[in-house]
Every structure is written in C-alpha cells, then in structure tokens.
Symmetry: C2
Subunit: 781 residues, 2 copies
C-alpha cells in the first residue's frame, strides 16, 4: 500500500551491461554497490582505485570476504535467559585495490581539475569492470586513463586490476603507489538495522607486514573471533620495460611505489593482483605462502588469461541461467543484473552462504537468513545446481550449533537453526523477530525437499539431507502441543510477516511444519526401505525412537491451519482477523516503512503486513489450495500489506499471475526486477537485496512461467505479459536442461540436454526426449 | 509451585524491634538492608559508621536519595522506533556517615582484634538504630562503643549520628575522622535486573568542596541529568569539653579530624549531623546555604531533641497504623517491620514515589512501578491518607510526560503512564514486559477511585484526579477496537503476569479498563453536575469531545472478558488455555525462578504464571464475581502459578481466605509476611520488597479481615486463623478512624475518631457513631 514513486532509471539501458558516463559524487555511493564485483567470497565495492575525495557520506570503500567475521558480545539493556549472546559481523577487510597516481607532483583526482570523456561499465558477460577517462590536472596536464578490474570466478582468493595511463600533452615525472590500506573499519548502524553493524572502532589488528620486490603482504588478527587474515598484493609497472618498485609503508598502509619519466603519448601499464586468505579456510601458518602462490600464478598467467577464464565461466553460467525478455530492455537489463549479482554474491565453498546484501555492503552485518532457502535457492537449484548443493552443505556444517541452540531453547531433542548467523550461532538480538521465527527450520527442510525432488540425489539425503530434515522436524513436536480440541498448535512464534510477532498458529509456520513433518517421515521411510544401512546409522546417531515418525505424521495430520469460513480465507494466525485494520488512508507516504515510524506494539496490534505470509504459503504449498482460495487470500492480504520488506512484491507478483491478475502481476514484478538498479527502497547504496534479486527469477519462472514443482512433479502454466514479445528461461531438472520460451503464439519447450524429461503444461502432459527434444504448445492448448 | 524451603529466622523474635547480637560478614550484606534507615527521601543502608573490611561482595555501603537520579541512553542491540531511549537510575550518593576511629594508632575495626559483647537494634517505635559493643584491639586495648543513628522523619534532608567511645583499660591518643566520601558508584546489574543498574563507573562529579570549623560540604554534579547535589556534615566531639577539629581532605573525601588524649573510663561523644539537598528540589545556588541552615538548626536542637521528634512521629504513625497479631510473635515482628520499612521508603513530597526496593538498595534502579498503586497505596490510604495523597500528586506531576509518551505510541489523545520511571519518562528497556503493560493506566485510575471513595475528596478530583482519570481512559479507545462480533478488544498487551507477553484481551487489563472507563464517565458526570466550572475548565484543557464519555461507556459495556464455559473460569487471555501446561513435575527446584532458567519464548508458550493475574482481578473487582467463580479461578490458576514474583503470594492469600481455604490463606500469608526478614527470595541484601511488605497489610485487612471497598461501600468479612488468639488493625475512612479486632468470639469494631461510619460485616449493616462507637458481632452473626 506504500506509494513511493519509482525514480527514473539513471543509468543507460543496455541488456548486457551497466554503464555510467559521468562521475558524480551524488551517485557515487549507490554506484559503488551497483558496479561492485564479487565471486561469492571476495567482494569489492566499486570505489575507484585512486581513492575518493568527495563529501563525507557519499562513499563506502568496502572490501569484504563472505563469512569472514569478527564477533562481539550482544549487550541487552534488559537481559534474559537464552538470548543470543554473541554477534558475528562481516568485516571490512584491508583495502587492497588502491593505486594512487601523481604526475609531476599533482595527484590524480577526478574531482580536481576537469574530467573529459568518462565511461565506466560492468559487462555481465565478461565479469570485468572497465573504465576509460580523460583528465586534465589543475595544472593543465592531460592524462588518459583506462582500467579493468575483476574478481576471479576461477579462484575465490584472487582479484586483479590493470590500469593504463597515457600522458596526452606532457612528458614528466610519474609516481604510482600500489597499496594495501589496513586502516579500515566497519560502518556503524545507528538506528537502522538495515545499514551496518553495531561495532565501532577497528576490528582488525596488524600482526605482521612484510614486503619484497613486487609484493606486499599484511597479516591481521581479529580480536574475538580469533581469525588470521593474509592480504597480499603483487604489482608490476611496464612503461617501455618493467620499472623497479620501491617498498613504501607507514603504520597501517604499505605498498609498492614506482617512479619514472613518462613520455607524451606513451602508455604505462600497471598490473596488480590481490589475494586474501584467512584461517577460517586454512591453517594460520600457511596463509602467507598460499597468498604468495596465488599471486605468483596470477602473474605468470597474466591479466589477459584471467579475463579469458572469467569470460569462460560466465559463458557457461549464461548458457545455463540466462533469462530473456523481448520487449523491455530496461527489464532485461534488470534481470541480468540481478542474476549476475546473485552469482557474485553466493558462497560456494560449503562453509559460507549468501548474505542479505551479498558481499556488496555491510547491511544486516553479512548475516545469512531464510532468504537463502526460500528466495535464492530455487534460482541456483534450477540454474546452477552445484551451487545449490553447496548452500545445503553450509547448513549441514551448522547442524551441531543448531543442536546446541535447541538445548538452550529447552528442546531436549532436535536442532533449531538460527534466524541470522554467519558461522552457525544465533545472532538475532531481537528475539520476537528473530529466534521466534521457528519457520527457519521448515524453510531449510523445504529447500532440501526441493533439491531432492529436482535431482533425485538420494546419496545426498543419506549423507546429510535426511539428518537435517529429521533433526529439525523434531523441534515441531517440542514446540507444539495438542489443544483441547485435539488440534496440533504451534504457539508464540513469528511468521515471515514481521509486522506481527509472537502469535499462535501462524498459518505459514504451521503449514510449512506440516510439510516438514510429512517429508521427514517420508524420507525416513524411503531410507529405511532403500538404504537400510544408512537409515540405521542415522537413526543411531540421532537416537531416533521407534514412534517418532508416527508422532510426526499424527501432528501433521492434526495441524491447526487457521481458516476463516466467513471470509473464506486462511487466517495469518489465530488472532489476525480480530485485530484492528491499519488506517492506510490516515498514513502519510513518509510514514513508510512503518517499522521506522511506529512502535512495534502499534504495528503488532493492527491488521497490517510487512510482506507476504499466507500469500507465500500459497506459492510454496501450491497444491494445497484451489484457485478460488488463492484469489480470496490474495485479495484480502494485498489490501493489508505495505510491502515494506523487499521480499514481498515478487511473491505477490507470482500469485497475481496465477490467479489471473495480469496487471498486478506485471506491476509487482516490475517493483522487484529493478529494485536495486532503480534504488526503489532508497538503501541500495548499503548493498544489493539478494533475496529480491532472486525473486525476479522466481517472478519469471514461477510467476509468468507458472512453474511449480510439487512432490517432484514439474509443471508450467505460462502466460505472457502484454508488453512483452516473448520471454525465455531455462531450468535444470533431473539431469536435463530445459528451455522454456513463451510468446504470443504459445509456449515452446526444448530439451537442451538430458535423455528424457516429463512435465505438464497446464493440464497437458509433455514428454521430451533427446530424440524428440521440442514441443510447441499454442495458446489455449 | 516452587518449593524453596524457608530459611530459619536468624534474628531474635521481638514484636517491636530488630536485633542482632553478633557481627558476622556472612549476614552483613543482608543486615545492611534489614537495619537500613530512611525517611522517604534519604536512605542509609546499615553499614557501620567506621567502614567495613570484610570480604568483597559481603557489603554494599549505599546512601540514596529517593528520586535523585542520573540518566543514560538505553542502547539496544537491535533498535526500533519508540523504544524508551533514556534510563534513569537512583544514585548512590556520597557516603556522609563515615566516622573512623584510631586509638594509639590502631584503627577500630570490629573484624580485627576481638569483639566482646555486641548488640545492634532497630526499634520501630523510636526510629533509631542503636549499637553497643566492646572491642579489644589487636594490641590489647579495650574500648566500649555505643552509637545511635537516625534519619529524620521530621526533616527529609537530615540524618544524625551520635557515637560514644570509652577507653576501658587504657588512656591514650585517640583520633576520630568524620567524613564524606565522594568516591562512590552504583552496583552493576550484570544479568539479573533485580540487582542494580547497567551503569558502570562514577556518575557524580565533584564541583566544589569546602570546609570550615565543624563543617564539610561537597557539591557534585550529575553528567546527564544535570543535577547539583550538596552533601554536608557537621561534627562535634565532646570529651570533657568540646574538642577542636582540623579539616582533612583528599581528592574525593573530606571531613573533620579530632585528635585528643582520652582517659581510661572517660567517655568521648561524637555528634554528627548530615544533610543532602539537590537541585531537583531547590535552586542550585541555594543548596549549600540550605544544607548549612539544616545542620545549624540540628546542632542547636541536639541529638536528643531529634530523637524525641522521631519518637513523636512514630507514636502518631503506630497509633494510626499498627496491626496486632496475638499468637505469633515472629509474624507480629514481620508485620511491624514491613510497616516501618514502608514508612521509611515512601516519598511524600509529591515529586517522588516509592521504589520497588524503597531507599534500601539499587535493585530495579530506584524505579517506580504499578506496585505503588495496586500494592502499596491501600496501606497508606487507610493508615496515613496524607501520604497516599502525595503519591497521587506524584502521578499528576508526570501527566505531561505521559501525554508525550502517548503521542510517541501513536495515540493522538490521552496519556500513557510509563511502566517504570523515576521522573516520569518511560524507562523500560524490554517493552514486551514494560510498555506493553498498558494496565498501568487503569492501576493509577483505580488508586484515584479508591482515594475518592475513601475520602470523598471532590476538590482533589476537580483539581487533578479527574484529569488523570479521563486522560488515561482515552488510551483504551486508542488501543482497543471492536472485533467482528462487536466485542471491544484490547490486543497486544501484557498483563500483570509477565510469564505471558503481548497477548490479546488479557482478562485483568480488560476488566480494569472497563472499571476505568466507567469511572471516567462517572466522574465526568459528577463534576458536570456538581462542579460545572471545574468540568468546563478540564474539558477545555483536554479538549474533551461531547461524545467521548458515551464512547467510553459503550466500550466498557462491550468489553471482551475471556471466560471459558467448559471450565467455568475466566481465561487469562484469549489464548492462555490453548497453550501447553508447564511441566511442573519435570522442573527441578533449582530451575526457579523460571525467568532465570528458560528463554522467554519457552515460558510464553506455556500455561504458567509468574504471579496473580486473573486472581488479582478477583480482589480488585471483587463484586464482579461470585464465590464459586472465585473458587474455580483460584483453583485453576493456583495450579499453574510459580509465585516467582514477590507480588504473588499476598494476593493468593487474600482470595484463599475469601473462598474459604483457610490453610492456604495462612500459608501464602506467611510467605509474604516475613519475605524480607527471612530472605525467602534470597535477594533482600539488594533491598527490601516494598510491594510484598504492603501485601502483608492487605493480607490482614483484605484477607483475614475480608475488607473490601466496592464503589464506596466498606465491608468486612473477618475470619481468624486458627493459630492466632486475635488480630487487630485500624483504618481511616471518610474522616473516621476505625479499629477492627477479631478473636475467637467474633469481631469488635470501634470508632476511635470521627462522627459516624457505616459499613457491613458479612451481611450485617453496622453504623457506629461518636456516641455509640463500638459494636461486637459474634461468630456466625
């Protein structure tokens, strides 16, 4: 119901690139996010190599490593038993990008002197951030500068910069300083949790710094989490021959300085490689050697080879993942931008996950949420399943902490995953909208179910999946209870919609718990039958009682699922409909988001939703509802939802498409698709919204494509927005790669890889084979 | 359901005194609380004048001024709009009691050398803490020491100490240093909110220190609250003539030093007066002069005169307030101890109130809660109504802040009082058990109703009472709403029982809101009829709309009051009965109180009560329930209540007495009556429990006496516990003083003052007059 006008897109529309043609402090902070590079581990905001002298508050020159964190005690003004005790927050690591340039003593600074032509672009096919500019110094010297930067998809520890400078109207003394700056600290969040962390002051303490020839290496230690971090650079300068470097250092910064005579018209090229290694991944005493080896290899390969590998990686990615929209280039750009950033953000080493803002900023402190399983996982599962599998591995790596947390929460059995975390411990400092979101357990189980149904990977289930599913299922029996009417009730939880808290029988939670319990019993059954040894091993490891599966099924069968017969809608929780409707008419536009303008109690006692809750269940548990149910639920909840969460619009878009509200489907989709590119939430400068980005993919596949996988069966029910000529997406399913292309004439399905794939198109059953890989089904068929 | 064994009373039983006969570090901390002195403003813990050298953690040498506080920002690890931003906490002020003694260079220290006879006593009739001891120094010198200390009931700014020392086996050089020590700081709370405040480090900053002749004065400033405090002492020493003093000082401590030759057997007497004045009460530039004037007058009066005045004040108090129990001296002692401490704790200047721990400790930070109105107010109203009136004045002084708070909480009209505060601003740092307790508004209105019915003081209502009642009543219309069934619902509040939070239609809250709305409409009606000018003035001041009173009555008439027909009980809230019962059988005794051993979510999702909630409504709104209702409610809630709150047992005792559970009534009463004296909650060393102390009085008058005032009508329904011979209490009502004495033969009512008083005894109507002041009603009449 919020009505902030969408800002006009400020960047040129280009289906494959992001491009800026001026350098403006007013957009610098935002563009640092949009043009940021990452590889799921290293994240470099797109601050310029040469530093930034614009006004305070118009830049955040951040470098991040996914999962590399400091911890600190959470101090409550009024403490209570069992509250999360230790926060973890992703650190801003030493800035290793810096390349400062002086010509005859004048420091290159695009905000001094004057800038001639300027272009910076990020090409989603090359994965390289390129920049070309001409600059006239205050003293009148003209310089051409070109640079390329990449963060390697091939080696998670590596990034590289190539910078070329050419004197245009002078010959003179040039100095180039390539550095690592250890004087970094994190943003302070203040009152807005979406900004950064609560920490103040530096968190990295210099242990060692050494330099030799072209190399500078720093070793830092975190105080509380006790990690060691090696940050290293190797720099070469070629100006008609390799130039020698001199080591430079002060207390917290060090690097290589090159000084030489540049001739008018003659290019000098700086090639810089950077590497980060931390003791989260490797033994502390090997970090330095590992960083050196990476830099040595990179230098031997050279920048061009790294670019080729980057391109090859992305060629492969787009071949699998590309979504095409014909008829709206801005949208096409937005969708590819989102997919590209998802790829840049996602941890894929089994020890890391994907943070709310990826590795582009410090908002939400680099924490992982349910966003992964419910919003982001499907994109990777159907586009790049090997990454999806790594996301599951991450959760398995935290199973032991989840068991410990369950004990703290008085559950004698089972595992309770944290609402927000980096390394597996609960980091939520406001439990009513944190730990109370028990649905995280079902969300994780759901993603495992999705994975299993898409891949049939019973090995994985036997090795890890079943254990997670069963351990997390147990919590429902611990938290729930039968009421006097014999209904299985789950009380005092918070659902996805954080504008209600501590409610009884949240529809989403209970329905997902029901799915979870049944899946746990089913997978136990499957393993017992097909992998008896594995089942026996798991049952012994978690001391599974004989009667537990039956108890799960009984609870699932009697699950309380609030339904209001008078309105014919599913009630968000036991009391939602008895609350006072929010006075939307009396709420000025500047009072949104409500959470920044009203005390939680005021919000909680009204019928008002921050985001999809019942409506999300309509998607995830699609088969449990008929179309009339869905339409009534959609109508009711749409009227009381503010979409103050970036997780909301994509879900409303999908259900709108399903129930036949084509215009709404399109409008909600558009709110999601360019959310970051147009900065519609006004906070993209603090980092991208990874869940909303993945929501765009769901909007195409689930929404317009009508794709659902329910209990293993794949189906489509495509519709075509009137403004588009066609759209196309691809999914990997059961070892096959399927292309779905929808235009005014109908839907074309093409099996691009794999032997045979069966699915349905509306009510039509389709089977494609390698021999007969295509089917075209016209409108109305 | 907790079953901690009561410790054996460690102090001798004496109906009028507290007495210790040994000095033991093991009991020192606790006895500092029990023997503490106060006058509603100054509070001095009973630390010995000479200081304490026992083990760390066995003493808290605190001096407090009711309402004198420092403020500090409340920092939330995850902030939200409208949360209380600034805490206020009662300060430990400079210790002005100190009197150090050296004999021939050996410092007097009862923990060195050996202590001969020792006795310390606090007499509730004299209000003087007395001590007599004989001490042998490590060097073999024997000294007799006697001291008396009082905190003046006559002048809130004054305390006095008289100390006499007599060399018993030597003549020698004696040094006496009387000091003020400014090097004080508050306790740190750690994880237990019942201990102290979250502040660390000194909060008082020395501004000025000056000394002349017998006087030392210090001026301190608080950093954030910006108050100035003058602490001053005047000391004289007489040893066969006045001895001259020498000023002594170091950075934070200063005082008067006396050095003289003492002769064996000759007593030397130190007389010390101390005064505190703060800029909360007076202009900052007058504090010094006011303190001097008080000390000068005290010196002119002399210690003996102060003792006489103290005695006179207490004679008057006991004449009005004394409760007698024949047949249980330990209980008699406990009851008088409680009454005495209530008198010592209660602020009576209209700007202060009564803190959870009075002025005896720092637990709950010196904050005022609903404890005042619901637990403590009745004792003062019926025993010392002029103090009750001052407690009401205090709330009126905070009406403006309550209006501001209502605006922060999105109520366009009305006033919302803070859950905990000193100066009127909300200081609760955990809103689910703080600001969510909207019942505070009804509790305050209830106390005003009680006052009005007991005094008929329409002047007060016109001046302040009606304005508070109407402004606070408005909030119910702001927070509540009509549901689809037309019930007026109050959602997302927390009732008195803090083991449920953010519930809908808490029975206590709704029933009290109903009372409140009706009283507001009634008092508006009364004023409109009897004081039209006053009514017009108030209505204009608060812009009372024509229809508001009708809206109040409509909401009251349709108030949702949860009742479970199957069980025949009032439900604590809409969902209480559908929650899982707590597993008491599986909960070890050391897991109580639950709040220190279970995450709030675990507690909230169970049927378990910390304290009386519905059961409290049975008392306050007695007429709305029949005896069978009350018995069923009592039975049900007794089984699920832990009494982890010290506010619980007294209420259960009262209702048990009413429904005929004599044994339970007695047992619960006993748990309350000596709660502090026997330290049954294990934390009395941090301060007394003022609400439980007043609960004792209610236990006698409301419980065994069966006293109720419902809509202005006074009635009694006395019963006699089998272990007692008789009991007696007195109440002031409508300008009369009535004595109620109950023994095995029946009840005797005597009008001690006043012209005529009507009341009922069970079903019998009684009218006493000055001419016929007595009535005896036998058992069964």
């Amino acid at each position: 119901m919020s009505s902030a006008a969408l800002p006009i897109a400020s960047l040129p529309v280009d289906p494959w690139r992001l491009c800026e043609t001026s350098f403006d402090p007013a957009t610098n902070f935002l563009h640092e996010t949009l043009f940021a590079l990452g590889n799921g581990y290293i994240g470099l905001r797109a601050s310029h190599d040469e530093g930034y002298t614009g006004p305070a508050g118009s830049s955040l020159d951040g470098s991040y490593l996914n999962g590399f964190y400091e911890s600190e005690p959470i101090v409550y003004p009024e403490a209570a038993f069992g509250l999360a005790r230790t926060n973890q927050f992703m650190l801003n690591v030493p800035n290793a990008k810096g390349i400062a340039i002086w010509i005859d003593g004048e420091r290159f600074d695009p905000l001094q002197g004057s800038l001639g032509q300027y272009e910076r672009s990020l090409d989603f096919r090359t994965g390289v951030l390129e920049r070309r500019l001409e600059w006239t110094s205050p003293g009148g010297k003209r310089l051409a500068l070109a640079s390329r930067r990449l963060v390697s998809f091939d080696n998670k520890h590596l990034f590289a910069i190539e910078l070329t400078l050419t004197p245009l109207n002078f010959s003179g003394r040039v100095r180039v300083l390539s550095s690592i700056n250890g004087a970094v600290r994190n943003q302070e969040a203040g009152d807005d949790p979406r900004v950064g962390s609560a920490v103040s002051g530096p968190a990295l303490h210099l242990v060692e710094m050494h330099q030799e020839a072209s190399l500078t290496c720093m070793l830092h230690r975190t105080h509380n989490s006790g990690f060691l971090l090696a940050s290293a650079i190797d720099t070469a300068l070629d100006c008609g021959g390799a130039q020698p470097a001199r080591a430079e250092r002060d207390q917290l910064t060090a690097g290589q300085l090159f000084e030489f005579e540049a001739n008018c018209g003659q290019a000098a090229r700086v090639t810089k490689f950077g590497a980060y290694y931390s003791s989260r991944d490797y033994p502390a005493d090997q970090l330095d050697a590992l960083a050196r080896a990476t830099l040595l290899a990179a230098r031997a390969d050279g920048f061009a080879v790294l670019c080729e590998r980057q391109r090859a990686y992305l060629d492969d990615f787009w071949a699998q993942a590309d979504v095409q929209i014909a008829g709206d280039d801005a949208l096409q750009q937005g969708i590819r931008f989102n997919q590209f950033h998802l790829l840049q953000s996602v941890g894929r080493d089994g020890k890391t996950n994907i943070a709310a803002k990826g590795v582009t900023g410090e908002g939400y402190e680099g924490h992982y949420f349910w966003d992964t399983e419910i919003y982001i996982f499907p994109f990777f599962l159907y586009s790049k399943p090997e990454i999806a599998r790594k996301l599951l591995e991450y959760r398995y790596s935290g199973l032991e902490q989840a068991r410990e947390r369950a004990r703290q929460m008085a559950h004698p059995k089972g595992a309770l995953f944290p609402w927000r975390t980096i390394a597996g411990e609960e980091c939520s400092a406001y439990f009513p909208a944190g730990t109370a979101q028990y649905h995280i357990n079902a969300d994780i189980a759901y993603s495992i179910k999705l994975y299993y149904e898409a891949t049939g990977d019973l090995d994985y289930m036997a090795r890890a999946g079943a254990e997670i599913v069963m351990e997390t299922a147990r919590i429902w029996l611990g938290i729930g209870s039968y009421d006097r009417a014999g209904r299985f009730c789950i009380n005092e939880v918070t659902g996805p919609d954080e504008y209600s808290a501590l409610v009884n029988n949240n529809y989403y939670t209970n329905a997902m718990a029901q799915m979870h319990l049944r899946f746990a019993a089913a997978i136990a059954d499957t393993l017992r039958g097909q992998r008896p040894d594995d089942f026996a091993r798991i049952a012994a490891a978690i001391t599974l009682d004989d009667g537990e599966c039956a108890a799960w099924l009984r609870a699932a069968g009697r699950m309380a699922l609030p339904y209001d017969a008078a309105l014919g809608i599913h009630e968000q929780d036991d009391s939602f409909l008895s609350k006072k409707p929010w006075d939307f008419a009396g709420t000025a536009p500047d009072r949104y988001p409500l959470l920044l303008n009203y005390h939680p109690l005021v919000i909680y006692r009204h019928q008002v939703c921050k985001q999809a809750d019942v409506v999300l269940a309509l998607l995830l548990l699609s088969d449990q509802f008929n179309l009339e149910d869905k339409r009534r639920d959609f109508d009711y909840y749409e009227a009381v939802t503010t979409h103050d969460s970036s997780l909301s619009s994509c879900i409303f878009s999908i259900i709108a498409a399903e129930v036949g509200y084509a215009d709404k489907a399109y409008d909600y989709f558009m709110e999601t698709a360019r959310l970051d590119l147009d900065d519609t939430h006004g906070n993209t400068h603090y980092g991208v919204h990874t869940a909303a980005m993945a929501g765009t993919w769901m909007g195409v596949a689930y929404g317009f494509g009508g794709m659902r996988v329910q209990d293993g069966a794949l189906r489509f029910a495509p519709t075509l927005p009137s403004k588009w000529q066609h759209y196309q997406f691809q999914i990997q399913f059961r070892g096959c790669l399927l292309r779905v292309r929808v235009d005014a004439a109908g839907a074309a399905y093409t099996l691009l890889a794999g032997a045979e794939l069966a699915f349905s198109h509306h009510a039509t059953r389709v089977v494609l084979t390698a021999a007969a890989p295509g089917a075209h089904i016209g409108q109305g068929e």
